[in-house]
Amino acid sequence: MSRHGYSGFALIEVLHTAQELFGYLSPTLLKTIAHKLKLPPSRVLGVATFYHFFSLKPKGEHTFVVCIGTACYVAGGYSLVQKLEHRCAKAGHTTEDGKVSVETARCIGSCGLAPAVVYDGNVLPRVTPGILDTELDRIGVQ
């Protein structure tokens, strides 16, 4: 925060860094940020909920982000979402044991490799439900 001179303009940068450090934005964290940047807490919450990138809930041990941009949609991205929803949790949620988070993204810009899944930060190209099954078995998901 001091790098940005505690300026309210830097709110999005601060939220990015906070999420990187803590994994998600807890209510206490948001209140601290609001206090330090001298912004109303409503403004901080408003910005944090407006952007998809910020998460107000803790993430699971592993994260699958299924791309459902146009190219991945045409190539069958939804079948991957269905597979993950069937075996793990609904899109946007984490399994109860905190093992896997399932998310969707609107195009990650890897359209030449459709359908793509970002698995713990790495892009998997040309994914099939079978590949997901193998990976889920490997990390021990029932």
């Binding site: 300026s7 309210g8 303009f9 830097a10 709110l11 999005i12 940068e13 939220l15 990015h16 403004r43 408003g46 910005v47 407006f50 952007y51 998809h52 990138f53 910020f54 459902i68 941009g69 146009t70 190219a71 949609y73 045409v74 190539a75 993204a105 609107r106 195009c107 990650i108 810009g109 890897s110 359209c111 030449g112 490799l113 459709a114 793509a116 790495n122 892009v123 998997l124 190209p125």
Partner: protein
């Protein structure tokens, strides 16, 4: 560094490169990295070490080589051979250049239309320079356009050159760039800003990403020239948060350029100063709209506001602001170098230059291409794209969720701003997605409407409520529950959204629906009246018997 040192550095680096026996270029754009390009590059570099070829053979990472579907790609520049689907284990064979059978199979002919029919201006350096090395960019003449502008041209002459080139905004709307620059320049002297819109949100588009990853210095140079022309000293690049690699390479490039006085204070030892900072987006499609983007840079919710005043009059923090797209800025250095007349000689009467397209979907050669304006869709899709593998062409989608679907009868339409809008689509930022007969057009329309519904910022009611209503009807059509009267309702809602929404997102949200209704009415009819999906994609709600196809 001053202009003279810049030229010395160029010659030095060129001499060094010519002294090498070979340069092995390894594509390290996001696509190839996700197929293992990083490990491959290390394996190649390791192999050079073990064979004692250090100082003779150089292994570099480069920007996108174009043919993403065959990644990871490696280019042997001495033997002029391109290989696809290369594994780390292939490193010794590549260095030896042997005509080993399994390598020869994966060598890609560079005389095919995919390469020969393209014309590269924006992507000229992509696949030639290492995006992480400033010396490489200087070797191909980098920053000399900036030097030329600062030393030989007045700000007015720079704008005149851009105006003469006929360059139009590459973000989609196609506003003449020279006119926009002149608008900002004519504001009285005060704090002004230059903003690069790199919030490439259209699903199915990855042109800007490839330019930023493959040639970041080019964009910085274009922005600095713009800053000089309009009288700004501060620039911002607003990048999508999803583009981690692009962010990392931009940060690196800015640092390098500042160290050499190509950015920052006393640029090229002239009196001009220009700083560039990055702003990272956080996943909101609407932030591609210029007023929403400004709000987001200011740290607020990215909601658009009423225009006018337009950003050239009142933009970032109420100051005059120039906003251009990545590809637009990347076109600037060659225009200054070779002149506006040269640029204007390419393309059609109203659309000059080239356009980068991201080919994706049901097409043989997915990847990144750049073609002169005015080429027909048929040439792009069938000559360059290699056609549709195993299927029949149904539609091409341009312009993302704001664009339309182009059916077969318009395949001979030349690609320029006017022709595309005449047939109900738009140029857009350059995503080109091909669909074959397994895609249901109603479901495609529903898909885009779902996108707009999710991404609507909620500020104005036509967009917030209208997209939900339209999506609801489309959803019911794809499950066979809609009545024929709802089709008219869909059309009425479409007109309403187009006429009354606040910003481009809502105004163009009905486009995919309108164009599919116009060109594929029989698919809508089949869903509603016969409860049948011609593409056999939609699952109908249980209840009545499904009519067999």
């Amino acid at each position: 560094m001053n202009a003279e040192q810049l030229r010395d550095n160029q010659n030095e680096e060129l001499d060094r490169q010519q002294g090498l026996q070979n340069r092995i270029l390894c594509c390290t754009a996001a696509g190839c990295i996700s197929c293992g390009a990083d490990g491959l590059r290390q394996a190649l570099a390791g192999e050079v070490e073990t064979q004692g070829l250090k100082g003779k053979v150089e292994v570099c990472g480069t920007g996108c080589l174009g043919l993403c579907s065959r990644g990871p790609l490696v280019l042997d520049s001495a033997r002029k051979r391109l290989y696809g689907n290369i594994k780390a284990a292939d490193a010794p064979a590549i260095l030896a250049g042997t005509a080993q059978s399994n390598l020869a199979e994966r060598s890609i002919d560079m005389e095919v239309p995919f390469f020969t029919r393209q014309m590269k201006i924006v992507l000229a350096n992509s696949g030639r320079v290492d995006p992480e090395k400033l010396a490489d960019y200087i070797a191909v003449g980098g920053y000399q356009s900036l030097a030329k502008a600062l030393e030989e041209m007045t700000a007015r002459e720079v704008i005149e050159e851009v105006r003469k080139s006929g360059l139009r905004g590459r973000g989609g709307a196609g506003y003449p760039t020279g006119v926009k620059w002149a608008l900002v320049a004519k504001q009285p002297p005060q704090t002004k800003y230059v903003v690069c819109n790199a919030d490439e949100g259209d699903p199915g588009a990855f042109m800007d990403r490839s330019v930023l990853e493959g040639d970041p210095h080019r964009v910085l140079e274009g922005m600095a020239i713009a800053g000089y022309a309009v009288g700004a000293q501060q620039g911002y690049i607003y990048v999508r948060g999803e583009y981690g690699l692009a962010i990392q390479r931009l940060q690196n490039a800015i640092k390098q350029a500042e160290r050499e006085h190509l950015l920052g204070t006393r640029i090229l030892e002239q009196g001009f100063q220009f700083h560039i900072d990055l702003r990272i987006g956080a996943g909101a499609f609407v932030c591609g709209e210029e007023t929403a983007l400004i709000a987001s840079i200011e740290g607020k919710r990215g909601q658009p506001r009423q225009r006018p005043p337009y950003p050239p009059a009142s933009g970032l923090w109420g100051q005059p602001t120039l906003i251009n797209n990545v590809e637009t800025f990347a076109n600037i250095p060659p225009i200054i170098e070779k002149g506006g007349d040269w640029f204007a000689s390419i393309g059609t009467a109203t659309s000059k230059g080239t356009k980068v397209f991201a080919l994706a979907g049901k097409i043989a050669n997915t990847g990144l291409i750049e073609v002169p304006m005015g080429m027909t869709l048929r040439e792009i899709l069938f000559d360059i794209g290699g056609g549709i593998p195993g299927g029949k062409f149904k539609a091409a989608q341009t312009g993302g969720p704001s664009g339309g679907c182009i059916p077969e009868q318009f395949l001979d339409t030349p690609v320029d701003y006017e022709s595309l809008s005449k047939i109900g689509s738009i140029m857009g930022s350059g995503g080109l997605i091909v669909m074959d007969d397994t895609s249901c057009m109603v479901d495609v329309a529903r898909f885009f409407m779902e996108f707009c519904m999710d991404e609507s910022c909620g500020k104005c009611i036509p967009c917030r409520a209208g997209t939900v209503q339209m999506h609801d009807i489309l959803q019911r059509i794809t499950t066979g529950e809609a009545s024929p009267a709802e089709l008219d309702m869909l059309k009425t809602l479409g007109t309403l959204l187009r006429e009354t929404s606040l910003c481009g997102l809502g105004q163009t949200a009905p486009n995919p629906v309108v164009s599919t209704l116009k060109y594929f009415p029989e698919e809508y009819e089949a869903h509603i009246r016969e409860r049948r999906c011609p593409a056999r994609q939609c699952k109908f709600a249980p209840g009545e018997e499904e009519v067999p196809a």
